[in-house]
């Protein structure tokens, strides 16, 4: 991050001395790093390094035992996933966690639920405000569907779609709520080279064109190095490197712990 002027205002997510353990085993150990606004930050590390646990802490699924987190300068102490969503965090899950029996459009629309201002009664009687909101949600969803080239699958039932397309639906559902920060848990797991390239392009588009800050977990080092602005390397819950991809790549500890080892 040497070429970047670092001031507090540029930090969107700050993690300071965070620890978490499961039954006495430290999953995350006194971890500190910052995610800067508008960057793509990759979390890498061997299996069990604590990457997914960290995402769970960031969006409020787990509560850290010590340390603190702040998002846009606001403390994330004692926060629930529903509140982090309201604050502007979106998440795409490793297992997708889509609504398999619903159409692509309905999945994307569901991503807007928490933005709703209208009440049940207004919907039951289709009052003008509810109708306007529905039209607005519909338009927003269509825009995201178009942005991610999902139009051909718009009305398809999600569980019938291929894995790669489902991943994109997951991305659309998170994106429609217009998050400031998007957490992607292995968005390219199980994909072939072309699919990975395609997904990388979408992630780059979301970052560049929509200005969304991205934190992602990925195993494929070549993808990580070409995609991200900032890499944080974890090993056994500790941070062993933090910086731009080129610097991290040459770090001896990283080479020993991760890159040099065949997985």
């Amino acid at each position: 991050m040497t070429d970047r002027a670092i001031s507090d205002a540029d930090v969107i997510l700050d993690i300071a001395g965070v620890s978490l353990s499961f039954q006495g085993v430290k999953a995350i150990n006194a971890l500190s790093f910052s995610v800067y606004r508008h960057e793509i930050c990759a979390l890498i590390g061997p299996n069990g390094a604590g990457k997914s646990s960290l995402l769970n802490i960031i969006n409020g699924v787990y509560r850290p035992e010590s340390g603190s987190l702040s998002f846009n300068g606001r403390s994330l102490k004692k926060i629930q996933p529903i509140e982090t969503a309201r604050l502007g965090m979106g998440r795409v899950f490793q297992n997708n966690a889509l609504f398999g029996k619903m159409s692509v459009l309905d999945n994307v629309l569901a991503g807007l639920s928490r933005k709703a201002q209208t009440s049940f009664i207004e919907h039951a009687f289709r009052l003008p405000r509810a109708r306007r909101e529905s039209a607005d949600f519909r338009a927003r969803s269509e825009r995201v569907i178009a942005f991610l080239d999902l139009e051909p699958y718009r009305d398809a039932i999600v569980e019938n779609l291929s894995y790669g397309i489902q991943k994109r639906v997951g991305l659309a559902r998170a994106l429609v709520a217009e998050p400031e920060l998007l957490l992607l848990d292995e968005p390219m797991a199980g994909m072939n080279k072309e699919e990975k390239q395609e997904m990388s392009d979408y992630i780059t588009d979301i970052n560049h064109k929509l200005g969304v800050t991205i934190v992602l977990i990925e195993h494929d080092i070549s993808v990580v190095m070409s995609l991200s602005d900032h890499v944080v390397v974890l090993d056994y819950g500790r941070k062993i490197a933090d910086g731009d991809p080129d610097r991290v790549k040459d770090d001896p500890e990283v080479i020993q712990a991760y890159l040099g080892v065949v997985h």
Binding site: A85, A97, F99, M102, F120
Partner: protein, 293 residues
């Protein structure tokens, strides 16, 4: 042949009343996995409330609206006070809670509004109508028409509105619904409120048919076989199951009844349900659970 068609139509029309009761169960089960045994008690409570307000001299439509408001308030209170604190407990705990609840509601209903059998006049005449040679009950026909309108309204609400989408999302995968910021407590309240309205309509038609008294809460026992046949998670299943039971019961009563000395309807539905449990335990429209590893 005329007898057959007449019996069949009569049975199908009566079946819509079973469907109505079953839909109340499906709504709550689909959204929260709770088999709400207290649905029958709520049905009794709504019919009693309606009768009481009518006896107090309220105009019919006003009494209906007041009853709807009372039932929605009661259901939301039940969701808030009984079910929300028990969220994520196992199915049996939740079932036992609603079982207990049904006694409380039945007791409260009769304590507050009396336990003697009362007549509920909802302004429908049970005149016989003739369609050619075939006799049809006007009451059943109007009730079936009303039930159809209600079901269409529900279907539109759940498929077209934002809340419908959230509801289906919660039914599909509660955890992911929560993770994308859907307020599931809200959704459960709405489902309970809608189930209360459906229960109130069922209470109204069943109460008008057989009088308002404790026995009204036993119509849940009629809904159970309907649910087994149709599947606990499908509104379509509740409709088809209800029609099947209604028609089956009427036909069995007419054609098999004389052979065995009558009295078929109390057990016929359960016999059909038992056969379904052997052949297709999830019901006609139910879904087999696919466990993901």
């Amino acid at each position: 042949m005329t007898l057959f068609i007449e019996t069949l139509i009569g049975g199908l029309l009566a079946g819509t009343m079973y469907s109505l009761v079953a839909i109340g169960f499906v709504l709550i089960f689909k959204a929260s996995g709770v088999f709400n045994y207290s649905q029958g008690a709520l049905l009794l409570f709504s019919a009693l409330t309606l009768v009481t307000f009518l006896e107090l001299g309220l105009a019919f439509w006003l009494a209906v609206i007041v009853t709807i408001v009372v039932m929605i308030a009661l259901s939301i209170a039940i969701e808030r006070v009984v079910l929300r604190p028990l969220a994520n407990r196992n199915v049996m705990t939740l079932f036992m809670a609603t079982l207990g609840l049904s006694f409380v509601i039945e007791g409260a209903a009769q304590g507050l509004m009396g336990s003697e059998v009362r007549l509920l006049d909802i302004g429908l005449q049970d005149n016989p109508l003739f369609w050619g040679d075939i006799l049809i009950s006007e009451f059943d026909l109007i009730v079936a028409g009303g039930a159809t309108v209600l079901v269409i309204a529900l279907a539109l609400f759940f498929s077209k509105t934002r809340i419908g989408i959230s509801l289906r999302a919660v039914a599909d995968d509660t955890a992911s619904a929560q993770s994308i910021g859907i307020n599931i407590n809200r959704i459960w309240q709405i489902v309970w409120a809608v189930a209360a309205v459906v229960g109130m309509v069922s209470g109204m038609v069943w109460g008008a048919r057989q009088g308002v008294a404790f026995a009204l809460s036993l119509v849940v026992l009629k809904a159970l076989p309907v649910l087994i046949i149709g599947g606990f998670t499908s509104i379509m299943g509740a409709i088809v199951g209800g029609l099947l039971i209604g028609a089956g019961e009427a036909l069995a009563e007419t054609y098999i009844g004389p052979l065995v000395g009558g009295g078929i309807s109390p057990w016929f539905a359960y016999l059909v349900a038992l056969i379904f449990l052997f052949i297709r335990p999830v019901g006609l429209f139910g879904e087999y659970k696919v466990e993901r590893v």
